[in-house]
Subunit: 395 residues, 2 copies
């Protein structure tokens, strides 16, 4: 608006560019889909950032193999040398996060590990953002009408979901909530039978099994938690387990109950009524997902539960199991702390790229010095916001 009074508006154009080199700490449980060449690496590269991956100690050979594939792809597609890098070994994570050239961190793993990286990054002379996907128990609400209509199938599907992949998903259902009723008692009874009959499975590695065993011990030792089903945990495999906890623990903010136990186990909580259900949900930590198992009548009756779930989780499901994480524009694999370190992000889907972008504004720049995306002629033919209108037209 050069004609604006009293002062003309300058020519202002904005683009987002990469924040700079990103350190990636991949997941233990997806050596291929979410580690060396996972969503963090992909979104950092898409943002125009170079990447330094710390090879996961649980699958170093796989990491190395994938890194070599990426290196060949970098060469073949004429990407700049050094755009992808990998480092190996114990103790290399800390100097990586503290290196002055690193500008952001992507992490998938435990709450303890993720929080340590966040603290490290925040204490740098120049603090940098960390997106750490950490701990979620993914509550599932079993609503009355659904239980009445298809309680047996729900018990079967739920048990299958809990033990899928030996329960080693960030989105594994770790907490089952239902309202006291004949039907919910029946669900508990069915689940107890089914979970008790589930076979032991082999976990990713010895460390994961050790953590699982320790997690089960904590639950078993807890006064307010009752063991319902599962063989004694011993040997080299993980035994599926079922527990039931007193709702008072949740209401009192008991943190043990809200700790993610990575493996084939889940905890049932029975509430008195809808009011207590909402109270219980409000007492929960942030989550990656929250699920309603609901039929028609439930959707009306429990509509006011949804705003509570929105506050708590990054993804809300109805009549599905949260373990599948679709890669698409709409996906959110994120959520309030401690599900992640920053509720504003996601590590899966195209929005993940945003974590590694920063805006730059050009004021009165001549065409010759503007990035292609901002030139009048729109040589990239992209959709742009020009004077408040989305358009692919030239200016």
């Amino acid at each position: 608006m050069p004609e604006r009074q009293p002062l003309p508006r300058p020519d202002l154009r904005q683009i987002k560019i990469g924040v700079g080199p990103v350190a990636v700490f991949g997941a233990s449980n997806f050596p291929l889909a979410f580690s060396t060449a996972g969503g963090d690496t992909a979104s950092a590269l898409a943002a125009g950032c170079s990447v330094v991956v710390k090879a996961h100690s649980g699958h170093m050979a796989t990491a190395d193999f994938v890194a070599q594939v990426i290196e060949r792809a970098v060469e073949k597609s004429n990407m700049p040398k050094g755009v992808f890098n990998m480092i190996y070994g114990n103790g290399v994570g800390e100097p990586l996060v503290k290196h002055p050239l690193i500008q952001a961190v992507g992490f998938t793993g435990s709450l303890r590990g993720g929080r340590a990286l966040c603290d490290m990054a925040a204490a740098r002379p120049q603090p940098i953002p960390v997106f750490a996907e950490m701990s979620s128990i993914n509550p599932m609400l079993m609503l009355p009408d659904a239980l009445k209509n298809r309680g047996e199938k729900i018990a079967q599907d739920l048990a299958d979901s809990v033990v899928l992949g030996c329960g080693q998903f960030c989105t594994n259902p770790g907490l089952i909530l239902g309202i006291k009723s004949v039907e919910f008692s029946q669900l508990i009874s069915n689940l107890t039978d089914i979970m008790g009959a589930k076979p032991a499975q082999t976990m990713l590695n010895a460390g994961t099994l050790k953590s699982y065993t320790a997690g089960l011990e904590h639950l078993t030792e807890h006064q307010g938690i009752k063991h319902l089903a599962g063989q004694t945990q011993q040997g080299n495999q993980a035994q599926p387990q079922l527990f039931k906890a007193d709702v008072e623990l949740l209401l009192a903010g008991d943190q043990l109950l809200q700790e993610e136990i990575f493996g084939p186990t889940t905890v049932i909580i029975e509430v008195e009524d809808k009011a207590q259900l909402i109270q219980a949900l409000q007492s929960m930590n942030g989550q990656l997902t929250a699920t309603l198992i609901a039929d028609e009548a439930d959707l009306t009756e429990f509509a006011d539960v949804v705003p509570v779930l929105e506050e708590k989780a990054g993804r809300l499901l109805i009549n599905g199991y949260p373990t599948g994480v679709e890669v698409c524009d709409a996906m959110v694999h994120g959520g309030p702390y401690p599900a992640t370190s920053d509720a504003r992000g996601t590590s899966v889907g195209t929005l993940a790229i945003d974590r590694y972008l920063r805006p730059v504004c050009y004021q009165n720049y001549p065409q010759s010095l503007l990035p292609e995306a901002l030139k009048d002629s729109n040589p990239l033919q992209i959709l742009r916001l020009v004077n408040s209108e989305m358009t692919r037209e030239a200016i």
Copy 2:
């Protein structure tokens, strides 16, 4: 894609909602435009967050007056009660940032104050994001062709910009870079004359004047920095000052030279050639703005300076002065640390809203439980990304 093989894709829809209550620490230098009712408050409200403003100690009565106006507007427009709040007093900032309900912080002020809030927020049981706009010396590069063609006018405009509003802008030009030449020597000589004749001005408050005086003392005491113009700083007003520093200080990463001195002063640095100019820029901290004063021949000759500036600043200007900050979609009032605490944000312009939003994804939700923005019929008639196409059509 319910027909997709081997598995159907679920119905996934994403919306962004507010992160929760935001704590706002407004600027000292814009009691009306960027404090109680400034960009942080406006963008938090736009994101759907409630706001708690800490009244700035430098203008408590103004803050209170503006808060009352906002309160009346809240009532008149039927916004929820409690959506806007203000607290007063020394020492209330820390408990505010540490309060478990606060989910994000917006701050404008000093590096020391901003960093303290960042550290506090990062150390909470649940860390929260802080956008702190802090310290920038806004380098201006005086290129040779421009100096040849209009050196005298440049000296005049630059001096006027340095003393505008007694230099109390975050975007005040605090560092002037030029290449050794007859013309740059002439600019320095002109600036020395003009700055020496600029009258003293009254600052915002006694604290600001005290900081300015201390900043000048640091520069004066520095061995590598020479005082060129300005009356001795004393009394109740700020005396405009001009300094010249050795480029070696910048190359050696001397932090004193890069500290923002809030007030009517600037530092000139002379470099040997373009190579040294680029080196000097690479040695600089992150900035809110970086400006080229350039004519036609300069734009070709110095095109490779632009990528260096992109790494360093949130807004790049040509032939303007950075003090004006337009409120619009394209504005970036942000930049790499220590200009702000998070290079991915801005505190001015519509992108500022993004700082306080988090995404939520709905999987297989029925129409009745979806937010208006996500319903098939598009009742809000907004532009939406549907199956990779931007559209206002119903689904």
